[in-house]
């Protein structure tokens, strides 16, 4: 499952290599302190995201964000928040091993997602994201462009989600 798959596929699916992820919880009144140590302005509306360098933050709820970065930057992120602990209470939890990321790319990517995601995908603008469900599985869905999505899924649910995507993708390719 580590390589791109299937011969007849409408949407290009791939499983990204692992990378660092963090769950950040902080009082909305203290967001600016977190933004400062992170070097980017944390968005405060669920669904919005902000990025700088390798860092990407997505607002999931009024006091909850998910942060993504790369391996080279992980220690810097952890050190920055460690320095913040004594002054501003918050929680930064490494969740890198909890999830894997599937990318969906192609003009029919939204159609493929819609086979198991109840969201109105036209309401998810490029450059935003959200927590939602795929089939019965909780996911974080990011839309990078009209035709590019990412699914963050708990690793134990990956085979289930992957199998559903693969099957629906074959049906799309066959014109069903």
């Amino acid at each position: 499952m580590t390589t791109p798959m299937t011969t007849a596929s409408a949407v290009s699916l791939s499983l990204l290599p692992e990378f660092p992820r963090y769950s950040l919880r902080i009082d909305p009144a203290d967001v600016s302190a977190a933004s400062e140590v992170l070097g980017l302005e944390l968005p405060t509306r669920p669904g919005q995201r902000a990025a700088t360098g390798s860092r990407l933050a997505l607002c999931l709820g009024p006091d909850e964000w998910v942060l993504y970065t790369d391996e080279a930057d992980a220690q810097a992120v952890e050190a920055a928040f460690a320095a913040l602990y004594p002054v501003t209470p918050h929680s930064l939890i490494a969740i890198s091993d909890r999830e894997r990321t599937i990318t969906l790319s192609g003009p029919q990517a939204a159609e493929l997602l819609s086979t198991s995601c109840p969201r109105d995908l036209t309401a998810i603008a490029p450059g935003t994201g959200t927590r939602t469900v795929f089939d019965t599985v909780q996911i974080v869905l990011l839309r990078d462009s009209e035709s590019d999505f990412r699914i963050e899924v708990g690793r134990s649910f990956l085979p289930h989600v992957w199998a559903l995507l693969e099957r629906a993708n074959r049906e799309l390719a066959a014109g069903l």
Partner: protein, 95 residues
Amino acid sequence: MLLIHCPYCEATLPELEFTYAGEAHIARPADPSTMSDEQWRDFLFIRTNARGPHFERWRHAHGCGRFFNAVRDTVSDKFLLTYKAGEPKPESLPE
């Protein structure tokens, strides 16, 4: 599928992202030890069981994660109103 307006996400979203969490505006007694068994029973188990508008708690579990309150008509299953947790019980309801 029901569509539910989350007052935190400010969006109307599919029911599958939400979980029901019982009747709203039931305050836990400040000092349970002073209550009779009957009063405690009522607090724990006795609910309005409304026919019509019902004030109830929901949680946007697979979204922003917040609890909020909703008024749902138990006859038509229509959501009349949703509002943030902690806000006062609305006095009047939209038609």
